[in-house]
């Protein structure tokens, strides 16, 4: 009692929280030799004492205030420091050990797929010179995080991996011989965060891009095949890749009679069709953007089309559309692409969707985004105006953010801007995870950097002499993938460590003897741990190893050690009513020669299973 009675109410509340956790951990501990009735009772009693002390301390506080006749704040200014707000910045979060074990697993799969497809890694700085990012993201430029001007350069946090990649290629000119380049890292957007859905201000994207002039649609098909491979290996459920082609879309706009200077803005309106009904989009086109309603209706007929090869045939039979050079080129491209996607055996994952427009201006050819059923917001079905359209085959659909970015639910008022902290609150239950990956072909971004560096105006004579460096790539939203995979890990109560052996002393501490064995095992590549105590109790050591579900307990004892022997006890767990429980058995363990221990371990089934799990 004496130790807790002098604490402040705040410190006591902290202590109570800690003790509650401790008590619950003990209560749920399957090892009943640790979670004895006595231990449980002791923990419970301690908790009761703390709560009593808190009640007393709170009363004392009141009394003190009364006696001193002051307000409690009066005590503050001089004696207490201003309180530190112990939190991470808005829209950012920590990922603790269990979550990171899952995230590392996801990242390992993605990187393994990247290198399996022949990719090489690039790493660019987290911040760039501001002018590198300027004029790349349209109206979303206001979401860029700037660094403070502390003298020297104007800097900003990167917004995606695409622009830094293009800057890198432009800087390195013809010396870039690696043509498939991947990057995994964090990017930054001052948007409204919805943390539980993986929509953050700091988020991780995994990009791969194919750079250079190759034969038509071969790199495009490679990227789509790679995306399908990754999403199949990750446990995200059934997915669909919505696919369109900017050339066809622009051709449609031309054919329907959209003036050239309105094409991009009308394209933006079309991009909203996945969450707004046609009537609303049409209203935007005509009332807000001044398009002739007859033109809008013509567009409406085209952009409601979704499907597979049948849709391609429909378009190929459309003489009006084929009469447009861009549309014809796009349709030809899609023909080649479909043929290649069949060779890659991914054609069943593709949904040709004429309403997909994508936000970014720099796309010049195919565009795509991956969606899963689980990523759609609850209101999706009502919103999806064309869900019952003629060629609809979509098994899933969703909100369609620009380059897997956090999607704005509502346009902030133009004069408020993203800086205003009184942003409207987002109703998380109405928000889907959104698309989990997106990308497209962008053939002019690298040359626009080279032009900029040489002061060459686009379209000028010099501009045409700039060597072209066409690109096609995809960004995978790693936080959104995590938001889909993590609940499944929690449900299955997946182990969060790789430790294979826990070394335990049966004798009088044997600290140096334990360290010596631990060292030997680690040197042989066996992930091993032990309790950092001089003379720990046997139960405490077993409990520590079992908390991490370590499959092998190796017990060292004085006599056995002298004979060059150790005792190995294999431990297994099963999932029972949503909880991992150790399978009890009467096994007293196997005596193994220390000199043969590593080989012995590596020949067990548990070791081989670990191998498969770890690098699968």
């Amino acid at each position: 009692m004496s130790s807790s009675s002098s604490l402040t109410p705040e410190a006591l509340e902290q202590e109570i929280a800690t003790q509650t956790t401790r008590f619950n951990e003990l209560r749920l501990n399957p090892d009943k030799s640790v979670a004895t009735p006595e231990a449980l009772n002791e923990a419970k009693q301690k908790l009761a004492e703390l709560k009593k002390a808190l009640a007393l301390a709170k009363n004392a506080g009141k009394e003190k205030v009364k006696k001193e006749g002051g307000v409690p704040a009066a005590k503050g200014p001089e004696q207490k420091k201003e309180r530190l707000l112990l939190k991470t910045a808005k829209g950012t979060r920590d990922f603790g050990p269990a979550e990171m074990f899952c995230r590392e697993h996801i990242e390992r799969i993605v990187k393994e797929c990247f290198t399996t497809y022949g990719g090489s890694c690039l790493d660019t700085p987290v911040f760039e010179r501001k002018d590198v990012l300027t004029d790349k993201y349209g109206e979303d430029s206001k979401l860029i995080f700037d660094l403070k001007d502390q003298g020297g350069e104007e800097l900003a946090l990167r917004y995606d991996h695409t622009v830094p990649l293009a800057r890198y290629i432009a800087m390195n000119g013809g010396t870039v011989t690696q043509h498939k380049i991947w990057q995994v890292g964090k990017v930054y957007r001052r948007d409204n965060p919805v943390v539980s859905k993986g929509r953050m201000r700091e988020f991780t994207q995994a990009d791969i891009d194919i750079v250079g002039l190759w034969d038509p649609m071969v790199p495009d098909a490679e990227i789509l095949s790679l995306l399908c491979t990754i999403l199949t290996k990750l446990d995200v459920g059934e997915f669909t890749i919505k696919l369109n082609n900017r050339k066809i879309l622009d051709g449609i706009f031309e054919v329907c009679g959209v003036p050239a200077d309105k094409i991009r803005t009308i394209s933006s309106a079309v991009d909203k069709l996945d969450k707004a009904p046609w009537a609303e989009v049409k209203k935007e086109m005509t009332e807000e953007k001044g398009l002739d309603p007859a033109v809008a209706d013509k567009i409406g007929e085209y952009v409601k089309l979704k499907g597979g090869e049948a849709l391609l045939e429909t378009l190929t039979a459309d003489a009006t559309l084929l009469g447009n050079a861009r549309a014809k080129e796009g349709i030809n491209e899609m023909g080649i692409l479909f043929r290649l996607l069949k060779a890659y055996q991914v054609i069943d994952k593709i949904l040709f969707d004429l309403s997909l427009a994508r936000g970014l201006d720099y796309y010049t050819g195919i565009i795509y985004e991956a969606v899963v059923a689980a990523s759609a917001p609850p209101a999706f079905n009502q919103a999806n105006a064309f869900a019952t359209g003629p060629a609809s085959e979509t098994p899933a659909s969703s909100a369609a953010p620009t380059h897997a970015a956090p999607k704005k639910e509502k346009k902030p008022k133009k004069d408020a801007g993203p800086a205003a902290e009184d942003e409207h609150e987002i109703d998380e239950s109405q928000v889907g995870v959104g698309s989990i990956a997106a990308g497209g072909r962008y053939d002019n971004l690298v040359s626009s950097f080279i032009a900029g560096a040489n002061g060459i105006l686009p379209g000028s004579k010099e501009y045409k002499k700039i060597p072209q460096m066409p690109c096609v790539g995809v960004s995978i939203g790693m936080d959104r993938i995590f938001a889909l995979v993590w609940p499944k890990w929690v449900e299955r109560s997946v182990r969060v460590k790789e430790t294979m052996v826990y070394v335990i002393s049966a004798g009088d501490g044997l600290l140096e003897e334990r360290i010596s064995l631990v060292r030997e095992l680690r040197e042989a590549g066996v992930k091993t741990d032990f309790l950092a105590k001089n003379k720990p109790k046997l139960n405490a050591q077993f409990a520590a190893g079992e908390k991490d579900e370590v499959p092998f307990a190796i017990i060292v004892g004085g006599e056995e050690l002298a004979q060059g022997l150790v005792t190995v006890k294999e431990q297994r767990w099963e999932l029972k009513e949503g909880k991992k429980v150790k399978i009890e058995n009467e096994d007293k363990g196997v005596k193994v020669k220390r000199s043969e221990l590593v080989d012995w371990l590596k020949n067990t089934q548990a070791w081989r299973e670990r191998d498969v799990r770890e690098w699968a």
Copy 2:
């Protein structure tokens, strides 16, 4: 014409650029069924039309200017855009594919060691609320990168991983059950960069920390053993870990008669002994910092001592020192530590060095830094005043930065600050890589966060009641490791890709047949690539595979394919006069059944060698 004549000159220039690309793509397209003379002609004509429209539009613009009597502001010297400076921000750099292959290799080894020792991963945001970083880095706080105030929170880029870790533990209170936590990521300091030596403004640190109350010196010994394991596995050459204890150092200062309020500043002076002679350091102590010269001389006698266990015995025999409670505690700790380091078999890597002081204020127990011979600046030998000291056993020594940070060569003038861009240029040839890893014990950082969050003043009664969360950790400077390892990779001309198979067509293109085989192999986990061309020449395909030193060329041909066979040709390289050269042989390849191809590959020596190299 009607569609382009209404465009602005800028829009037309954009259109011309796009059309030029399209025309060139078509012109270079080997598929002559697409690149028909008609299509080429059509594209060319379209381009001509656009150019004509541009000329007209520009003339119209001039006319307009003339008529309105204005100045053609957009035409004169301003006709060219302001040139974009195509570079990365100061003190940052890109790492291209070959470098990243090496860096990923380093990172993999470090992470593998972390998990082998039972570590769990933590990820914190790249930026923190500014007040979390305030008051943590002493005078180096001016090196913190702030984010621009765009409304909302004040934010800054993280300076190290230690403070965010402590913030995380404080936030999560008693619920942190994982006790070994590692982090790998970038940190930021606005210091003077020396890029070639791995001293950057953005640099990567790999940290591991042991958190919690364990038996004395066991976690400390674990960390030192782990550091030795990592540095042994990385190819950095011979290394030494310089080790000291803040308790002993502070005890020495007390015993010698340093006033309590001067202890930290005198400690900073001592920390310079690795690059300045004693006379200079003494001058700083006495003339700048007002220490009694007799006291300085007493300190000089102690801090020149370096050695192994013999030094510990010397100190244990020093009755004056043992009379000081802190020093005695420190000496006892070192006794336990040396015993444990013997069990870990790393004692030969340790140099007990009383001149090691370390910059950061928060250390409370042992402190250490790892140095290699190659990391010392050329002037090191002259500077090392005590190199010939009595107990000197050091095989190597070096500059000693705070927490593996970029080391300042010279103190910037106080009023200039780090923001001034006219920082003095650093002579790179006079700079060593510095220490490659550093760390220590810090028992009060977490509780200081808890105190801050509760408005509790340090030293107050409430402060003592805060549950202690002692920590000991190490930061590995990954860019410095890279600066040491990378030249060796270049020298050995290490391969920069993992691709195992290059699929080559001997027939007429066979694009879909190649894709089909590539897909099969990739699905079986074989890293495979091919040339993204419709009908590539045999030589071009071999050359592409050989550029990446791919060990297996698999050739598909029409007739063999029909029989279910492929030809596998193994390729090997050797280093000749610093260049990788393919070993020529007369081998025409082996015919392998396609159905058995994956097993066949996985049974080759080249495959097994890859396995060893990749996960070693």
